[in-house]
């Protein structure tokens, strides 16, 4: 797990002179004193290739580039043939201003097009390296997170009595990065699908019964839709967490340094946007119809890669001489993942009774199916479902003296 960012930029606000810190994870900072939106710029110097290149040209080019970058507009490289651009180590903070009237621009609305409230000019805004960063708002306080952890420990089945009453006091807020690859795809899928159809069948005695049969049906599915691919940009199992469930359509905020809790650990993303885009493209072009061998024509019309930062509370506690953790979702207050000492071993008399009851139900269903041919198919389905439930019950029971919970349908 990477610790606090080391490449923070501490500088003064160019508008009011107040000290401002811009951590490496953020593109923008909000000046706490004057409210200006500030962005990091890396000035570009021009190293002379030929002897005799004037210093004035380099300085002028640097100023022009930095000014353009500060305005959110892509800098235009000078046509000087005797120099080449080199990114220098120095970094500076520049306020986000309108290139037309120098009025302050705000990215609070979180849009690609920023509207100058003073002169009405629209400015195209691009994030760091073409990847915009967004934040799930933190809605759960530390006390609420501790309460959620304590409630989980008291309610979840199979936890040892000692752990149920253990005081949970230590917690830490982390923001985990998650890659989002969003594409707009258009295309068609043609082919045949196997569908289950029911029909009435009658025997020699005139008794009617419902039968199911598989039939092949032709389909033509048009697609013009957004497809999203998410992947955790950090090692979640090390944290003891799983990727939280979300659709990507939630209300998000642009990641601005001044708006993240300073005590929070914002984890650095692993992987590159190019690798995620390649993986996302592969997934997006997969047929969605579920047909065995469809003819597909799908194209990607537009795509974007985004980093989403999700807040989680890590609540740690000690029980039976071991450390355990409950991860509480700081966005919606649910328990994301948790571990606790188990009350007993895997096979308990109660578990045995439950499994035996399920097996009896399955046998009964099979017997009913064999006795009445009209309900044979539904009873076989029921027996299979009950057997699967019995197996899941055994697998989900505490094993190895430890209860482990992960939010369902997350990855």
């Amino acid at each position: 797990m990477s610790e606090a960012p080391t490449n923070s930029l501490s500088a003064t606000c160019p508008q009011c002179g107040a000290p401002v810190t811009l951590p490496d994870y953020a593109d923008l900072a909000l000046c706490p004193f004057c409210g200006s939106n500030l962005r990091r710029t890396r000035p570009i110097a021009f190293e002379p290739r030929l002897a005799g290149t004037s210093a004035g040209t380099s300085a002028g080019a640097m100023a022009a580039t930095a000014g353009a970058a500060a305005a959110g507009v892509a800098p235009v490289k000078p046509a000087a043939s005797g120099s080449h651009p080199v990114e220098v180590d120095e970094q500076a903070l520049h306020s986000l201003t309108c290139p037309q009237c120098a009025g302050p621009l705000s990215v609070q609305a979180g849009r690609r097009i920023l509207l100058c409230s003073r002169c009405g000019v629209r400015v195209l805004w691009s994030g760091q390296g073409g990847v915009s960063r967004w934040l799930f708002p933190q809605n759960v306080s530390q006390i609420q997170a501790l309460g959620a952890a304590a409630k989980w420990l008291s309610d979840y089945p199979g936890i040892s009595r000692e752990a149920r009453d253990v005081p949970v006091r230590q917690s830490r807020l982390v923001h985990i990065p998650i890659w989002e690859h969003k594409v707009l795809v258009a295309g068609w899928e043609f082919g045949t699908k196997l569908r289950t159809k029911s029909y009435l069948a009658s025997d020699d005695e005139g008794n009617e019964r419902l039968e199911l049969a598989l039939t092949e049906e032709r389909f033509e599915d048009p697609h013009l839709q957004e497809r999203r691919f998410f992947q955790a940009a950090c090692d979640l199992p090390t944290l003891g967490a799983t990727r939280p469930r979300f659709s990507g359509r939630e209300l998000l905020l642009p990641l601005v340094a001044g708006e993240v809790d300073p005590a929070s650990l914002v984890m650095e993303p692993q992987g590159t946007a190019a690798a995620i885009a390649e993986q996302g493209r592969r997934v997006a072009l997969l047929p969605a119809s579920g047909a065995a061998d469809p003819h597909t024509w799908i194209v990607i019309l537009r795509e974007s890669v985004t980093l989403l930062y999700y807040p989680l509370w890590l609540v740690d506690y000690q029980a039976d001489g071991h450390s355990y953790r409950v991860v509480v979702n700081a966005h919606d207050g649910s328990v994301n993942s948790a571990t606790a000492p188990a009350r007993e071993g895997r096979f308990t008399p109660l578990l045995g009774l439950k499994v035996a009851a399920l097996v009896v139900v399955a046998i009964l269903a099979l017997w009913l199916g064999s006795a009445w041919s009209g309900i044979r198919v539904p009873t076989i389905f029921l027996a299979v479902i009950v057997c699967v439930a019995a197996v899941l019950l055994v697998l989900r029971s505490p094993a190895g003296g430890k209860v482990e919970y992960h939010e369902p349908f997350s990855s």
């Binding site: 629209r122 400015v123 967004w134 969003k182 258009a186 295309g187 998000l252 003819h295 537009r302």
Partner: protein, 242 residues
């Protein structure tokens, strides 16, 4: 972003692919480092029917393919309809909702309307003379049925049908030039899928040629379900309502 010709701030929301100058009507594409301007045209209304409602202008790409699949009966039929002029493919640029792109794109491509073009982008909303207006509550219900508003981050929401209230006179341009060619194949396959029973998408050979952006006059009317509720004011669309 300022107009490269007259210096007026360009209009266009966060989801727009192209930006229009409200002063001179020049359309601007965002390039690598600069804005690339080009001219669009407005289609004159050709219907002689009195259609009720406010006239709005819908951005549509008209594409001239350089080459199509040989011996394609669907394209041959379109060529016959368009004769003696060239045959075009039409792609709605004002919406990314699938039914809108598919229905209006198909209808325009199949009909190959005769268009009277004027350079520039319309500025004022026209009011068509009519004996009755579409009932307001019907309009509201249809818009509500189309679903909630878009992505909070400003991204496009393709599954949502754009209602009348989404823009004023001129529609936003949500589809760029390159995307229009991708959608042209989508529209063409929609036509082919209806005509050919055992279609193989791999058969399609569509090579990009020229393209132009047009603004079609239309009235939003919930009765015109086959054109996604948009009644195009062209004589070729003087058909029956649903």
């Amino acid at each position: 972003m300022l107009c490269t010709r007259c210096g007026i701030p360009l209009s266009g929301g966060d989801e727009a692919a192209l930006f229009v100058c409200p002063g001179c009507g020049l359309v601007h594409e965002v390039g690598e480092k600069t804005l690339a301007p080009f001219a669009a045209s407005t289609v004159a209304a050709s219907t002689e029917l009195a259609v009720s409602g406010s006239v709005q202008y819908l951005a549509v790409w008209r594409l001239l393919p350089a080459a199509m699949t040989e011996d394609d009966p669907v394209w041959e039929h379109i060529l016959r309809v368009a004769a003696p002029g060239p045959a075009y493919l039409y792609v709605p640029a004002f919406s990314l909702a699938r039914p809108v792109v598919q229905r209006i794109g198909m209808r325009l491509t199949e009909v190959q309307p005769v268009l009277e073009l004027t350079a520039g982008v319309p500025a004022e909303r026209g009011q068509r003379p009519a004996l009755a207006e579409a009932r307001a509550e019907v309009t509201r219900l249809s818009a509500a049925a189309a679903g909630p508003s878009g992505d909070p981050r400003g991204g496009s929401a393709p599954d949502e049908v754009n209602g009348e209230q989404d823009f004023d006179v001129v529609s936003p341009i949500l589809v760029g030039r390159r995307e229009a060619w991708g959608l042209a194949q989508f529209v063409y396959l929609a036509i082919e899928a209806r005509e050919i029973h055992d279609l193989q998408p791999a058969d399609l050979r569509l090579k990009p040629g020229g393209e132009e952006l047009l603004f079609f006059p239309a009235v939003w009317d919930p009765r015109y379900i086959h054109e996604s509720n948009w009644r195009l004011l062209l004589r070729e669309f003087d058909g029956l309502v649903a």
